[in-house]
């Protein structure tokens, strides 16, 4: 399983490093992109941010890797036992494990760094020197590499150091039932659940006690809240692994029994008998398998999030700003001529830290009922996608905009406020551009983004497009990118699935010797793998979703310090999860596991038991 752990950490590190490739270099040139990043004070801050972000996933990855390394091949545990029996000290075993982890990390993560670096160079090649653009991205990826390399080394060390077993115990470490728990599940639930509840209570209490009328909240209070947030996150994570995983393992037995009954009902009594036999036992191996699968699913589940805030009407394409204000109408008339544009609404705009547009609700009602309803239901509030990213009623007040609150929306990137309630002096004219009925918004947005008005009146203009307008959209590069992402995401799942399926070969050979046909064995393997995957993936994805939706609610609670208005926290929790993606992930992961069980089985098709035993002794993925 050493190679499997190496593959998993390599794929995950690659996935994160790919996120730090300047994919959006072209379309970001008009904005403050990372094209000017330099290795200065901001660079150190950048590293800190990357460490914080990737550390979260590295912690989960470490747990996964410990689980994977614990799923030993048939020969590995006996090798460990022999080394221990020959006098290898624990310290020396740990040192060797750390070296193994470091070498594996250097190879796998180094390859990821080279691959993502290749994409970086390729992406910036036309317009910049390789290290001249998005220079910080190289440091960001290096930081990711260091964090994930550390995860693999730590996982190897934990695997070697824990648990303290005698050489003889090591021989049957896989088959042994999980030992008695030092702390009962109830005790763990009380400790971690209590901790999460207490920390959440602190957040709720402090935010409820705070009155926006009293002004901005102090740094100390913010630090306390952030500490409480981290505590909630860690406590929930611990709850998932220390309580959730054992509960899932205990659910494996009834699930397999149920699958066996189903098999018997479907006239597959032999496969059912194998499942029934499997159901009668639980082992350390099944615990570690579920731990590893659940951990990966939890990472995936925590990525399946969407903005819980409402979006503006789908026909809204984006906003063009024009300076001076007098040039607005000239621009508007030209944008109205673009094929597919249905409406262009001109409105005064205040630029600055927050770009705020004063909309006329009567005028906007016909083209954007969503925005109208939002601003009508909360008079004087500003709708913006920047809630949680710096927008606050106090900062708006400094700019002369006295908003009653902030309404989060998911549509990028400017703020909207009822023009009759705010009287700050505008600096630009904003043109809100809407697609015509029946037109494809993405196509029209592309035309709008590429359009260059002919003017002598305007001194400057900017655009905030709500729709993605990548130049390579729809080209083969897009497919390469999606293929790579799919490979990186599915790679660890498939590798783990193959590893899990390959571990059965010795048992399968014995079962074949006792009269099980290849078809029976494959049927049982696919059913068993499917049940294990469904339980572990289902739990992991759900835990990831719960984790991230809880954090979304808590983050929203903290945002009240800045005047963010939330009508329903329950809606925030439910809407922050991308349930559709979660369902797809579940289906794809379970299908991948079942397919891997089938494919691994294909290798033994026609093989006789003694041949399978010989193959099992040789080992794979060790």
């Amino acid at each position: 399983m050493r190679r499997l752990a190496q593959g998993i950490v390599g794929a995950l590190a690659l996935a994160f490093m790919l996120m730090y490739v300047p994919w959006d270099l072209e379309e970001c040139t008009a904005f403050s992109c990372h094209t000017t990043d330099r290795w200065d004070f901001d660079g150190y801050f950048l590293i800190l941010m990357v460490v914080m972000q990737s550390l979260v996933y590295a912690v989960i990855t470490t747990v996964v890797l410990v689980g994977v390394l614990g799923m030993r091949d048939s020969g590995a545990s006996s090798e460990d036992a022999v080394l221990a029996a020959l006098g290898q000290s624990r310290r020396s075993a740990i040192r060797d494990a750390a070296k193994r982890g470091a070498v594996d990390a250097a190879v796998a993560i180094g390859a990821g760094f080279v691959i993502s670096g290749g994409f970086h160079v390729w992406k910036v090649f036309d317009s910049h020197s390789a290290f001249g653009a998005a220079a910080g991205a190289w440091i960001q990826r290096l930081t990711v590499a260091a964090v994930f390399a550390g995860a693999l080394v730590i996982a190897h060390v934990i695997d070697a150091a824990r648990p303290r077993k005698s050489p003889v115990d090591l021989l049957h470490a896989d088959a042994a039932a999980p030992g008695p728990r030092r702390f009962t599940l109830r005790a763990r639930m009380l400790v971690f659940g209590g901790l999460a509840g207490a920390a959440a209570g602190v957040i709720v209490g402090v935010t409820l006690a705070h009155d926006p009328a009293d002004g901005e909240v102090g740094e100390t209070t913010r630090t306390v809240i952030q500490g409480a947030q981290i505590t909630v996150w860690l406590a929930l994570l611990a709850l998932a692994f220390a309580v959730g995983v054992p509960l899932v393992v205990s659910g494996l037995r009834p699930a397999l029994t149920w699958a066996a009954r189903l098999g018997a009902a479907l006239r597959a009594p032999r496969a059912a008998s194998i499942l029934e036999a499997r159901a009668s036992t639980a082992s350390g191996a099944s615990t570690r398998t579920i731990l590893a699968i659940s951990g990966l699913a939890l990472i995936a589940g925590s990525f399946a999030h969407v903005s819980p805030a409402p979006a503006l009407t789908p026909s809204y394409l984006g906003t063009i700003s024009v300076r001076p204000i007098s040039a607005g109408e000239e621009f508007a008339s030209q944008y109205r001529e673009i094929d597919g544009v249905g409406a262009v609404v001109a409105a005064p705009m205040m630029s600055g830290d927050d770009a705020v547009i004063r909309v006329d609700l009567d005028e906007i009602a016909a083209v954007d009922p969503v925005l109208t309803a939002l601003l009508t239901s909360h008079p004087g509030a500003m709708a913006t996608s920047n809630s949680g990213y710096g927008a606050s009623i106090f900062r708006l007040a400094e700019a002369g905009i006295n908003a009653t609150g902030i309404l989060p929306i998911s549509t990028c990137c400017v703020g909207f406020i009822d023009g009759t309630r705010v009287h700050a002096t505008p600096t630009d004219t904003a043109l809100l551009i809407y697609a015509a009925d029946g037109a494809d918004p993405a196509e029209v947005a592309q035309r709008v983004a590429n359009f260059s008005p002919t003017t002598t009146a305007a001194t400057s203009s900017g655009q905030w497009m709500a729709y993605a307008t990548e130049n390579y959209s729809g080209s083969w590069i897009e497919w390469v990118y999606y293929g790579l992402v799919a490979l990186v995401c599915l790679g660890p799942v498939i590798a783990l699935a193959v590893g899990v399926a390959a571990r059965r070969r010795r048992d399968d050979a014995t079962l074949a010797a006792l009269g099980a046909s290849w078809r029976t064995l494959r049927g049982a393997a696919i059913a068993e793998t499917g049940v294990v995957a469904a339980l572990a993936v289902g739990f992991g994805l759900l835990a990831g979703a719960v984790l991230q939706s809880t954090m979304a609610v808590i983050a929203r609670a903290e945002d009240t310090f800045d005047g963010v208005i939330t009508d329903s926290y329950l809606q925030v929790a439910v809407r922050s999860v991308d349930w559709g993606s979660l369902a797809w992930m579940f289906a794809i992961a379970v299908a991948s596991f079942a397919a891997a069980a089938f494919v691994v089985g294909l290798r033994t098709r026609g093989a006789l038991p003694a041949e399978q035993l010989r193959a099992a002794e040789e080992g794979v993925l060790s």
Partner: protein, 244 residues
């Protein structure tokens, strides 16, 4: 003569080129039904490969094997699985018990796999005879080597197969337990018409057999009928070219 097993030109080679080893070399063999037959020979002579081939657990490079009247080397997977499940019982040298299952589950597994109802009385008498009646709920790694071997023997016998092939079935047992099990196997052969082929290194164990096949360099080099320990030793010495 009623034959339980028969092979013709049976050959199995491992590896290729200069490092190739022919473990079984054109073996023609006839095993009489209802007889306990022992296979003896030096280490590395190909005994284990021979019993694997005879049980349909391994694929010969050439040659044929018959179990009764069925040529198993010509059978497809499904039919071969039936032979292994209902007609042949096998005791592996390394036991090959499923480590996550209890001893009882291991023993009754062939019944479950082959849709044969469990005969509790037979299970009870078998486990009592083998002395593992109290160990049934334990997992293999919680049992001694001898106990694991007995579980493996019980698993091979639970389906009352026509032919039992056993690779050193008493290698981990003490003299008393060995004698008891071998007596039982011999009795099964006589009374139930069961045929047993066992690989052994122990001349005393071999002396329980009706016939001892002497195996060397992948070939049947001779045999001893109605063997005694001394006769078996003499046969083995002759095989090794040693004069007593």
């Amino acid at each position: 003569m009623n034959l339980a097993l028969k092979s013709l030109g049976l050959t199995k080679t491992y590896g290729s080129g200069p490092s190739a080893v022919t473990a079984v070399n054109h073996v023609d063999l006839e095993i009489e039904a209802g007889v306990l037959t022992a296979v003896m020979g030096p280490s590395g002579s190909g005994k284990t490969t021979l019993v694997h081939l005879l049980a349909g657990l391994d694929r010969p490079d050439s040659g044929q094997v018959w179990v009764g009247d069925d040529e198993i080397t010509a059978l497809k997977d499904k039919d071969l699985a039936k032979v292994r499940g209902r007609i042949v019982g096998f005791v592996f040298q390394g036991f090959n018990l499923l480590q996550t299952m209890s001893a009882r589950d291991n023993i009754v597994l062939p019944l479950r796999l082959n849709g044969i109802p469990l005969d509790e009385a037979w299970l009870s008498s078998l486990t009592d005879m083998l002395g593992i009646g109290r160990e049934l709920e334990r997992r293999p790694f919680e049992l001694s080597g001898g106990q694991q071997q007995r579980v493996a023997i019980a698993r091979a016998l639970i389906t009352k197969p026509r032919v039992v092939l056993a690779d050193e079935p008493t290698g981990n047992l003490d003299t008393h337990a060995s004698a008891e099990i071998l007596s039982h196997l011999r009795q099964s052969c006589r009374e139930l018409g069961q045929s047993v082929v066992m690989v052994t290194h122990d001349p005393t164990a071999a002396s329980y057999a009706g016939k001892v096949l002497l195996f060397a360099d992948g070939r049947v080099a001779g045999h001893v009928l109605d063997p005694t320990p001394d006769a078996v030793l003499a046969g083995l010495d002759a095989l090794a070219g040693v004069e007593r």
